[in-house]
Amino acid sequence: MSNSSTTEQGVYGGMHSGSGSFAPPLQTDKFFYDNKIVKWFAYATILWGVVGMLAGILAAFQLVYPVLNFGTAATTFGRVRPVHTNAIIFAFVGNGIFMGVYYSLQRLCKARMFSDALSKLHFWGWQSIIVLAAVTLLAGFTTGKEYAELEWPIDILIALIWVVFGINMFGTILKRRERHLYVAIWFYIATFVTVAMLHIVNSFEIPFSWIKSYSWYAGVQDALVQWWYGHNAVAFFLTTPYLGLMYYFMPKAANRPVYSYRLSIIHFWALIFIYIWAGPHHLLYTALPDWAQTLGTVFSIMLIAPSWGGMLNGLLTLRGAWDKVREEPVLKFMVVAVTAYGMATFEGPMLSLKNVNAISHFTDWTIAHVHVGALGWNGFLTFGILYYLIPKIFRTKLYSVKLANRHFWIGTLGIIFYVVPMYWAGFMQSLAWKEFTPEGTLKYQFLDTVKQMQPFYAMRGVGGVLFLIGALIMVYNLYKTVQAGDVLNEEPAEAAPLTKVFVEHNTAHWHRWIERRPVQMLVFSLVLVAIGGAIEMIPTFMVKSNIPTITSVKPYTPLELQGRDIYIREGCYLCHSQMIRPFRSEVVRYGEYSKAGEFIYDHPFQWGSKRTGPDLARIGGKYPDSWHFNHMYEPASISPGTIMPSYPWLFDNDLDTTITPAKIRAMQTLGVPYAAGYDMKANADLMQQANSIKDNLAKDKITIKSNKEIVALIAYLQRVGTDIKLEQKTTSTIK
């Protein structure tokens, strides 16, 4: 840990006053960097990282041993999984971003953070969002849109705290003592504006209670907006801020100049412009219009080079410093992180090719892909930064380089143990789903393929455990470092203020112009990232032919609507898709492929992204009510060997009918054609339908009160995908 510290210690600014174009400073300002806030964010990163990984391990083993769902609502996979993803993305990586930004921004701007009060507000605001998120998700309050699951009050809080972060960051930039913005700050600015845009647009929803809401968009449009968001959350929450961090911490740790300034410029602008367009590659072969799918594919292909620009600039910065990589754990972690980034960003475009996507989509291949990014890129870069920062802030050496090396190897093994079985599993399962016998029937029942997955799921869990063990070793190592160290909360620094007059070299690069103008950079970034989304969304919303009307598609009955909300609450969409792609294997297995017009009343859409269980788009009418009843109570009694958890609480909970009118009114606001005044009649219809299901179950010797939640869920499941079956009958008879 010793080699990189030399450039930092000693006189700030004085050592590096090599810029010939500046007027010689008359006097320097003395000020302090705020290390305390960095320290807090670092602790939060570590804490939530461990929590998020634990949730992930629980979820992983739930797929091997369903008994680990513990039979209670809050501990069931459908609620644990969003806690895992949200904790890793927004709590672990989120705090990691703030930690790195607060540390590097101050030093790159030669200024203390704009406002200590805002820093504190930001910190505590973000941590309370995380706690609220965990509590509400486990309680079943979810919007049902992946990685945007948090409900409307928390959405508003996120927007507010994000703006606090933005003001604090921008304030610091505006009062900087460094004329030009370094490439890391370009990435921070783009991150800020784009995440704000994504979050606000995707979170348009209409509340019907103090905590619950329906998505503003429906069906195909909701899917497009959601994956525009989902894809770019990966881009602008997991990628661009971390590229910024890489641009600061990697050259610092290696003590080498950044490889190519020109490459930084071109890859930064190309990356933020192109990334935004690629969202539809999550919806290939779905009911999304063909032209939008094509844009998703094409821009994904064009994304390879801009993504790799970051990797190259990182790895080539280490030229002449590879001997240090062998010695220095910080650099080791960073090299693997950047390599994982390169692999994931090459694989991503490959997965966006339609013929590859036809195999990979809905399988664990995708899970492997995102974990190369999450464990490798985000995880390892965060670890590298922590190993760099903590000794600096505590003015000491890392407690044990040996332990850090152990962490490195165990973590790397963990990644390999995680992703290799998942790649294998995904590929195998997909091929099994598609395999026909010569007689033209499907070779495997869905359940057969699920059983084949068990060993792979177990191995993946072991990989996760290894990764966590590595992280715990780091916790211990950093704890000992903190104990041995002497904290420097207020780090003294010195720099000359900017002069009013500035004369640029004649020979200076044209891009220097915008590097002096943070506001222009912000505006220009926003314009650039707004283009892709606008071009994809506006026609999908405005042009009628993109979503052809199917007359037989009717709004949900009140009971079905209630059942649908239970479906969303229990996170069914995390394992079951509702999107039959136009493939022979899927049409034979599930039924007629899904049409855009079927989803116009689906607020939110429930297409899903993973088939741990079979697709449910045509589940309606496939089995009797009693089948669903028994299956939800104890899935293994109907499907021996299944890994689906049981849902006993649905049989005890009474359906909350007091909220039915509010739900109907919210849907009416969104344009769902219930008759005027229907909100007050809805519960009568609801009870009638519930009683008919009750009677139907009684025929199969099942006794249940009609006001239980399970009745509503059965009503919904029996409805899904049946509208178009009616249509088929009609067309057949006409013909």
Binding site: S17, H180, P251, S260, Q293, L312, G440, R584, P624
Partner: protein, 399 residues
């Protein structure tokens, strides 16, 4: 002399590889067009190219090392002779190796031809061509590695040469050239006057492969859009689907035409083989027990042990019930899950419950069935089947 060596080496490598390259390339292209996208083929060709790339790197290193000997040690005739001998040897062995590989491939072709013309969906000729190419490349890599090792030994025997060799190895570092990077020594010339908290920036040019790669992806993107949305050479997903369904139906029809499996509700008979009944039991326990119970006593579905049947109790009736289902009563159609033979086995097994005593028998449903020949297949149900299978395309057109 020096030039000659260089040329002979380059020619030896290139010439030895050329014939196979030329042969493999159109083969790969042809098979890709004819057999859709074959992942095995793509990965094999990819591997082939990567190995070729490695050969290029190794050959370059070998070339550089040979300069060390010649330039720095003109007087040392023995070393020169060694290099020369090595290079000549190299030039001679490569084509020989290639011939050998081609012969092996040809032999393999002859032997295996009558059995099948495809391996992993790749025509046999192409498969062996590619495999022999890969083998050959591996041999070349191995040979180059040995030569480099030998050369390094010769060089390191002389201390003054060793230093020069290392310097060259460093200077000619492949990646620097590949990326058009300034060498570490030249870096000070391209160091910009940027300084951010001690971080400086170099002004290296864009790596050419990266830059042209970027252009290439843009061109590919434009071609993609043109193919799918303007020239319509690329099929839309609906067209792809129609084609896939048609191919599936054709393959199925072709198979069934020549198969004992060709049994339907009009021709089905009770099976008597114990293996077939065991097969039926296996299928039943995997798929049917949820609703009918393992002893056939019925829960969601009816009791099979009694004399009463909702839809007829003859083998033909049961075959029909399994094949087409009774959707409104919760019995799904199993025709896409099971082959006709399997349905026959299942129906036979279902009949074997008759007269047994289930643990919790469901009350009789339907009518008393008296064996008098199964009810004939009505015209209605046959028609319903027809319309059902052709729905897919109709709905599309209807919209």
């Amino acid at each position: 002399m020096r030039l000659n060596n260089k040329i002979s080496l380059t020619l030896a490598v290139v010439l030895s590889l050329l014939p196979n390259l030329v042969k493999a390339a159109p083969a790969a292209a042809a098979s890709a067009a004819a057999y859709d996208v074959n992942m095995v083929l793509i990965s094999l060709v990819g591997l082939m190219l990567i190995l070729l790339f490695v050969i290029g790197m190794l050959a370059n290193t070998l070339r550089q090392l040979s300069y060390v000997l010649k330039d720095k040690n003109r007087k040392d005739k023995s070393a020169k002779a060694t290099v020369k001998a090595l290079l000549v040897l190299l030039g001679l062995t490569l084509p020989a190796l290639q011939l050998g590989a081609a012969e092996v491939a040809a032999k393999a072709d002859e032997v295996a031809a009558p059995v099948s013309n495809f391996i992993n969906g790749i025509p046999k000729d192409d498969f062996y061509a590619i495999m022999s190419m890969i083998t050959l490349e591996l041999v070349v890599i191995f040979a180059l590695a040995i030569y480099i090792r030998l050369l390094m030994k010769v060089i390191s025997a002389k201390p003054e040469l060793a230093a020069a060799g290392q310097a060259i190895a460093r200077k000619s570092w492949f990646w620097d050239k590949f990326n058009a990077a300034a060498t570490i020594e030249q870096e000070k010339d391209i160091l910009l006057d940027h300084n951010y908290d001690g971080i400086q920036e170099l002004d290296n040019s864009l790596p050419p492969w990266w830059k042209y790669g970027f252009y290439l992806t843009i061109v590919v993107g434009i071609i993609y859009v043109y193919r799918y949305h303007f020239s319509h050479d690329g099929l839309s997903q609906q067209e792809e689907f129609a084609e896939e369904m048609q191919m599936g139906e054709e393959a199925k029809a072709a198979y069934l035409a020549n198969s004992a499996n060709n049994v339907d509700e009009n021709t089905v008979t009770i099976l008597t083989g114990s293996a077939e009944i065991a097969e039926g039991k296996e299928l039943f326990s995997k798929n049917c027990v949820a609703c009918h119970l393992a002893d056939g006593g019925g829960s969601v579905g009816p009791n099979f042990a009694d004399e009463y049947w909702l839809h007829g109790g003859g083998i033909k009736d049961i075959f029909k019930s399994i094949k087409y289902g009774w959707q409104e009563k919760g019995m799904k159609s199993w025709k896409d899950d099971f082959s006709p033979k399997q349905i026959q086995e299942l129906a036979t097994y279902v009949l074997s419950f008759k007269g047994t005593k289930p643990a919790t028998p469901k009350a009789p449903q339907g009518e008393l069935y008296i064996e008098a020949g199964a009810a004939p297949v009505t015209a209605d149900s046959a028609k319903a089947v027809e319309t059902k299978t052709s729905d897919t395309t109709k709905v599309e057109k209807g919209k």
